[in-house]
């Protein structure tokens, strides 16, 4: 093999084509000054398909094989097989953004359906086709607030428990604006609404809260938070995930102006954090939405047809005045997520969400009965996950659990966090036994 296996040219064809364009050689086609030409080697040896499959399998087998009880914004739910098989159809997987809607109606309709599902789940009027993840979605929400509320102030209020990943992305996305990010305290795993009331003022343009929170707690005072934002003419941005949306309070009903979060909990395996960011908002802010939007229209025969729309918000037209720089997004993940939601159906969604409440409740209860362990630490209802306090140093407990085959979060000196879904609930007996061994 002297070239790429993915080009069809025989030497004779190459020669004929060179002749056709009047070139002596392939090298002649490159208009590169001598000073910057490269004639070295990368020293990358070509391998066969078979060798690479073996090589990567071998490499990844060096990851420790642990049962993960991990969450904190990234969740493992079982993805039904048809999602893989249908999403892998090459017409979906290998297509580009739908710049020619007449031959990409299929993907456009899927994205329209995805947007529609988010409208049903959030109660808000508009959802985009996807952001990269929940962190960038939150950051884009802050930027949206800046655009629609810039006259009134520049403060973004986020919980002090915000994941570092989200906070760090937010900081980078607001670096070019006048926005400042401030924290409000949390208590028992949820917002300290009284303290938040003291902090929120006319300068506030966005109040961000999560449900469930990063510690797995179900927020009980969302309506109050929404009202607080409203009183201060700030936007209320709610962070959540698709499965939580199917069971917990509808964002629109608690006054949310923007919903961001992770959709990747449905549709994707735990791919080291690769996911999909939800972004939904009120129709009022439609023309300030970042990212792609699919709308219904008609074709020349009067049939319903779908197309990317309101593209004047976007970078390829508006350039530096675009609502965002996002171009390539997570469309294929959105497709997978929509398929997963459709496969579960509303019954399946609610059943699974309720199970995630029960699983966490029951596991916390069992752990709490082990001497030296308290769970849940927060006096709240929980969704999927909760914090456990131990008498031992948490890192040591986590290390010992890893020895026993379990991966957990360390969230404090004596606090670990556990997440339980349908994919690991079968392993709770072992986990509890291991915890009883190493935790107290």
């Amino acid at each position: 093999m002297s070239g790429t296996p993915f080009a069809p040219h025989t030497p004779a064809e190459t020669r004929a084509m060179l002749d056709e364009v009047g070139a002596e050689s392939e090298a002649d086609l490159f208009d590169i000054p001598d000073g910057v030409g490269f004639d070295g080697v990368f020293d990358i040896a070509p391998r066969t398909e078979r060798e690479i499959r073996h090589e990567v399998a071998e490499m990844l087998s060096r990851n420790d094989d642990l049962v993960e009880f991990m969450g904190r914004g990234h969740y493992d739910h079982y993805v039904p097989s048809p999602v893989d098989h249908l999403a892998d159809r090459s017409e979906f997987l290998t297509s580009y953004t739908q710049y020619q809607p007449e031959i990409t109606q299929g993907f456009l309709q899927v994205l329209f359906e995805y947007q529609s599902m988010l409208v049903e789940l959030t109660g808000l009027g508009v959802a985009n086709c996807s952001m990269y993840d929940s962190a960038t979605a939150l950051a884009e929400a802050a930027r949206l607030a800046d655009r629609v509320r810039s006259a009134s102030g520049s403060t973004v209020l986020v919980p002090d428990s915000l994941r570092d990943g989200k906070r760090a992305v937010l900081d980078n996305y607001v670096t070019g604006s006048d926005l400042t990010v401030a924290e409000y305290p949390t208590s028992e795993g949820t917002a300290d609404v009284d303290a938040l009331a003291d902090l929120a003022d006319a300068e506030t343009v966005l109040v961000y809260a999560e449900n469930p929170t990063v510690r797995g707690c179900i927020e009980e005072r969302l309506t109050d938070i929404g009202a607080l934002a409203d009183e201060n003419e700030a936007l209320f941005c709610l962070g959540t995930d698709l499965l939580a949306l199917s069971l917990l309070q509808e964002p629109a009903s608690v006054g949310a102006d923007v919903v961001v979060g992770s959709a990747g909990a449905l549709g994707m395996p735990t791919s080291y954090g690769m996911g999909l960011g939800i972004f939904a908002t009120r129709e009022d802010y439609l023309r300030q939405v970042p990212g792609r939007l699919v709308g219904a229209s008609e074709d020349g025969r009067g049939n319903r047809a779908y197309t990317l729309t309101l593209q004047t918000r976007e970078q390829h037209i508006r350039k530096e005045r675009a609502t965002s720089n996002i171009c390539t997004n997570q469309a294929w993940v959105a497709l997978r997520t929509a398929m997963h939601v459709a496969h579960l159906g509303p019954d399946g969604m609610v059943d699974l969400a309720e199970d995630c409440v029960r699983y966490a409740r029951d596991l916390a209860h069992r752990i709490d009965e082990v001497g030296g362990l308290q769970a849940p630490v927060d006096d709240r209802h929980h969704f999927r996950e909760f914090v456990v306090s131990t008498d031992q140093p948490a890192p040591a407990v986590a290390g010992d659990l890893a020895e026993e085959g379990y991966a957990v979060h360390v969230v404090g000196e004596h606090e670990i966090q556990l997440c339980v879904t349908e994919t690991n609930v079968g392993a709770v007996d072992g986990l509890v036994a291991a915890l009883a061994e190493v935790g107290p």
Partner: protein
């Protein structure tokens, strides 16, 4: 051919709560939460798996992908996506939680490390981050690195210079980082106008963002001079990797004087575009900027590999570690091709573009071009010509961009097309060349959907099935 919306097929409204009091621990079927914490009901489509399989199968058949035919979208590098990379990425051992202790995911770290290394060699860069989840995110990363560098060196610079022909994301990314954009007009030869650059560059210049070859496929022959001008002014040089497929093994941004670059692995390294994403936009930098890379970063350790936070890290551009599956596919692709394959890929990409260009009846104002060219449809509307091409069963090129070419058809066939396919493409182009405006304006005629009304879509946005129901 019409496929109803899921919502038009069957939906169910599920009522939630009622019996539960939240204290129920009996594990029965009652709601486990008090009513005030739940929504009242949920209405969504409810279909059986066979019905869903048909829905999505039919929709897929109403979609054009790279395996449907040629897809010569200029600046998009729509290569064939080798299916074995999907198999490699599907390895369940790679499906780990992003918060896993790094000592327990040595395999994942090694793969990332190796890919960082490959990309560094290919681009001539000293350090590479894999975190940015797309090209635009890579641009923002790169500009934030430039900003952090300048700030660390006490330079308060406010401007980023960008050629008018650059990708829209360049402008938007620079603006997001808080920079004023200075737009650089093209010279008569389609390349950077050195006089204009000289006028633009100065002590406010944080960076120049450049694509090379540029968006009409021309190599910036004066790149060494350009680099010198920018560097002399204290600015940094940013390379937009969108067109890297033109240069693999022939030239490296690092050797041209670029300080920062992003790679579009969903272009150059054949990871599938997925209808718009996900991609990945790794960023490479010269050694002097390595300390500014996003955190965490992968490096070798005594035990193998580990994560660490670069000393002056700009922070994060993704909540976790970026688009893992995409990165695995890119690794597999690069490993498949190796040195000779990568070099050959660019050679054939450039050959194909030149061959196709030679077969067209349209004018191509600028050259010599590399992997792509901008033909002009002249008096015809380029968008209409593109619609007409759909009737020939091919995907048309990018239209009406860049603006330096009137009625541009920016065409990038990539290396995967055969001469026969290029001839088919040329026939589709040339057939439209002779047609009257009415025929073009009414095109396409042979597609499932006819020309779609963009104006009414934007004027009366209907963005969900609920919006359709409300009508």
């Amino acid at each position: 051919r019409y496929e109803p919306l899921l919502s038009e097929k069957d939906t169910t409204r599920v009522e939630i709560g009622g019996a539960g009091d939240g204290g129920d621990e009996s594990g029965d079927d009652d709601s486990p939460l008090p009513d005030e914490l739940t929504r009242d009901s949920l209405e969504l489509p409810a279909l059986s798996e066979p019905e869903l399989a048909r829905h999505y199968t039919r929709l897929s058949q109403m979609n054009y992908g790279v395996e449907s035919g040629p897809y010569p979208l200029g600046s998009c590098t729509m290569k064939y996506n080798p299916s074995f990379t999907e198999d490699v990425a599907a390895d369940p051992n790679g499906a780990v939680h992003p918060d896993r202790d790094d000592a327990t995911v040595e395999g994942s770290l090694e793969l990332q490390y190796r890919l960082q290394d490959y990309l560094g060699r290919i681009g001539g860069m000293d350090a590479v981050t894999l975190q940015p989840p797309a090209g635009a995110a890579g641009e923002l990363t790169g500009i934030l690195i430039a900003k952090a560098y300048h700030e660390a060196h006490g330079n308060d610079r406010s401007e980023v210079i960008i050629p008018a022909s650059a990708h829209g994301t360049n402008f938007a990314s620079a603006a997001m980082a808080g920079y004023d954009v200075v737009e650089l007009p093209s010279g008569d030869d389609g390349r950077v106008d050195l006089d204009a650059l000289d006028a633009a560059v100065g002590e406010d210049t944080a960076a120049l963002m450049l694509t090379n070859p540029n968006t009409v496929g021309l190599f910036e022959r004066d790149i060494e001079t350009i680099a010198e001008m920018v560097h002399d002014a204290g600015g940094l040089l940013y390379y937009d990797g969108a067109n890297l497929n033109a240069l693999l093994g022939r030239a490296r941004p690092g050797d041209m004087g670029f300080d920062i670059m992003h790679y579009n692995v969903h272009k150059t390294f054949a990871t599938p575009h997925g209808g718009g994403g996900p991609g990945a936009g790794p960023v490479g930098v010269v050694a002097e900027l390595a300390d500014y890379l996003p955190r965490p970063h992968v490096r070798e350790s005594d035990a193998g590999y580990e994560l660490y936070d670069p000393e002056s890290s700009i922070g994060k551009l993704h909540g976790f570690h970026g688009n893992w599956l995409v990165l695995v596919k890119a690794y597999a692709y690069i490993a498949r091709l190796g040195d000779a394959g990568l070099r050959d890929a660019s050679a054939k990409a450039v050959l194909n573009a030149n061959y196709l260009g030679s077969q067209l009846d349209y004018d191509i104002p600028y050259g010599p071009f590399h992997h792509e060219f901008a033909a002009s449809t002249g008096e015809q509307d380029a968008a209409d010509v593109a619609k007409r091409m759909l009737d020939y069963g091919v995907h048309p090129p990018t239209t009406k961009w860049p603006e330096m070419v009137p009625e541009a058809m920016l065409t990038e066939p990539t290396e995967v097309e055969s001469r026969e396919t290029l001839d088919d493409l040329a026939r589709a182009f040339n057939a439209a060349a002779g047609e009257d405006d009415a025929t073009l304006a009414d095109a396409p005629h042979a597609t499932t959907a006819r020309r779609i009304d963009q104006v009414s879509a934007a004027r009366t946005p209907r963005l969900s099935w609920r919006a359709l129901d409300d009508e």
